[in-house]
């Protein structure tokens, strides 16, 4: 599952909020900004929907990196979803390094619908970091 596939891609999962970040990724696409194809997007209504366990389950089941992106704080489409997200994801980031999983594999950020260029840069940078860190290979059988 994890590991380098023939095209040299690693598995990066992205949780994007429907209103801002998914729109931002869409803007990047419409403007034909080139990005690495390792990242696969899962659309959620709000970054507040992201249960920290989603990130953990992704990493434990073969993902090499996880990116979560939502609206900027104070600009959440649902007013306060991303405030909760910020607290939860910060808690998770600190917990990951305690477990021995490099916490650079998990990144959360705030990208709005108009920030296509910023989205492109984020994906490029994050993919590069994951490639530098290499595959995670966390799937273990008993």
């Amino acid at each position: 599952m994890s590991g380098v596939d023939p095209k040299g891609e690693l598995r990066i999962v992205g949780f994007l909020c429907n209103w801002c970040s998914y729109g931002g990724a869409d803007t990047a696409g419409v403007s034909r900004f080139k990005q690495p194809t390792d990242l696969r997007i899962i659309r959620v209504p709000c970054s507040g929907r992201v249960n920290p366990l989603f990130v953990v389950k992704a990493l434990l089941n073969g993902a090499d990196g996880v990116l979560v992106s939502g609206c900027h704080p104070r600009d959440c489409h649902y007013s306060d979803g991303n405030f909760y997200a910020r607290r939860r994801l910060e808690m998770l980031k600190r917990l990951l390094s305690f477990l021995g999983i490099d916490n650079r594999r998990f990144h959360y950020t705030w990208i709005s619908a108009s920030e296509g260029a910023r989205w492109q840069q984020t994906v490029r940078d994050f993919t590069e970091v994951i490639h530098r860190l290499g595959p995670l290979n966390l799937k273990r059988e008993a």
């Binding site: 920290p52 389950k57 909760y84 910060e90 808690m91 917990l95 390094s97 021995g100 994050f126 059988e141």
Partner: protein, 318 residues
């Protein structure tokens, strides 16, 4: 504090409630067991000594009657946390608090006496215990056989009570010592830490004793670790699934764990389950200045937010 004082108070409380939960002798001298009292005659079987290790507050949310409960300092934090989350009705509970100087860890004591069979236990003064076994007598110091939570206890006197049996005790342990072992562990290399956790979780048998003994785990029969819709973890017994189960447990207790230590005490395989939760608690303290189970008017940090989080800085990639 004397056992007569406790029994008198319990007799009085029994007139106002349907049941009082206390401790009584278990199957041998180092094991006590929770005791549900509903008649005055049973009160004479109540005991109190350092072998009273259980957190009796864990029964409160499921008992829908008027209850009296005997609590130590750490257990009382559970009650405060329940109040913060609205899980109990404070008016239906009578809290009998006992200031506590520390309890034993059955695992450590058994090891100290080389797993001999215990015939009697005497609690001496100056924090010593003499254990009479079938292989002879042995005296150990309490401080050597306490669980870790007692060695750094900040709340020896219950933080909430209706009756206090005995004089309040002030903590003589420095604040920094509480999470010193977490800070120490975090200094290891990532590879060491990962190998440590994989080795520990590999021993797990998914008996769910830690989950069921935890006072804050109230989902119990609806736990997502057992549901199939959605299918969080499978029944396969791989290290990966066990790792996921323990993370589910720890993350659901983020900012709610009162560090009563029951999870680690009940694990039949000796896994340091409490470490993960205390790490999260340390983060909660650093980020949000929050300590679980102290102030009934607090809100658990994962249930609330601030528009401006001064301690959360935006991260850079890599």
């Amino acid at each position: 504090m004397s056992i007569e004082m406790l029994r008198d108070v319990v007799k009085k409380v029994l007139e106002e409630v349907d049941v009082v939960i206390g401790y009584t002798e278990g199957f041998d001298k180092i094991h006590t067991t929770p005791f549900f009292i509903d008649t005055p005659e049973q009160v004479d079987e109540l005991i109190w000594n350092p072998t009273c290790v259980h957190n009796l507050a864990t029964y409160l949310p499921s008992l829908k009657k008027k209850v009296g409960v005997v609590v130590k300092g750490c257990d009382s934090r559970t009650i405060v946390q329940y109040m913060q989350e609205g899980l109990i009705n404070r008016d239906n509970i009578k809290i009998i608090g006992i200031p506590c100087k520390g309890i034993i860890s059955v695992k450590r004591l058994s090891k100290a006496i080389d797993y001999a069979n215990i015939e009697d236990v005497v609690f001496e003064n100056e924090g010593k215990i003499t254990v009479k076994t079938d292989k002879g007598d042995k005296t150990v110091a309490m401080v050597d056989i306490m669980p870790d939570k007692c060695k750094t206890c900040q709340y020896p006197t219950p933080v909430i009570y209706d009756y206090l049996i005995g004089d309040p005790i002030k903590s003589d342990k420095p604040q920094e010592s509480v999470y010193a072992d977490i800070v120490e562990f975090d200094k290891k290399t990532p590879e060491e830490k990962l190998q440590y956790w994989l080795k520990e979780f590999d021993r797990c048998i998914r008996c769910y004793a830690c989950r069921n003994a935890c006072p804050m785990c109230i989902c119990q029969d609806s736990c997502i670790a057992e549901t199939r819709e959605p299918h969080w973890i499978s029944q396969k017994l791989t290290t990966q699934e066990k790792f996921m189960f323990h993370l589910i447990h720890a993350v659901h207790l983020a900012g709610r764990c009162v560090e009563c230590g029951e999870c680690e005490r009940v694990c039949p395989m000796g896994i340091p389950v409490n470490k993960l939760k205390r790490k999260i608690n340390l983060d909660m303290k650093e980020l949000f200045d929050y300590v679980p189970g102290i102030n009934p008017d607090d809100k658990p940090p994962m249930y609330t937010f601030n528009v401006d989080e001064l301690k959360i800085k935006e991260h850079k990639i890599g």
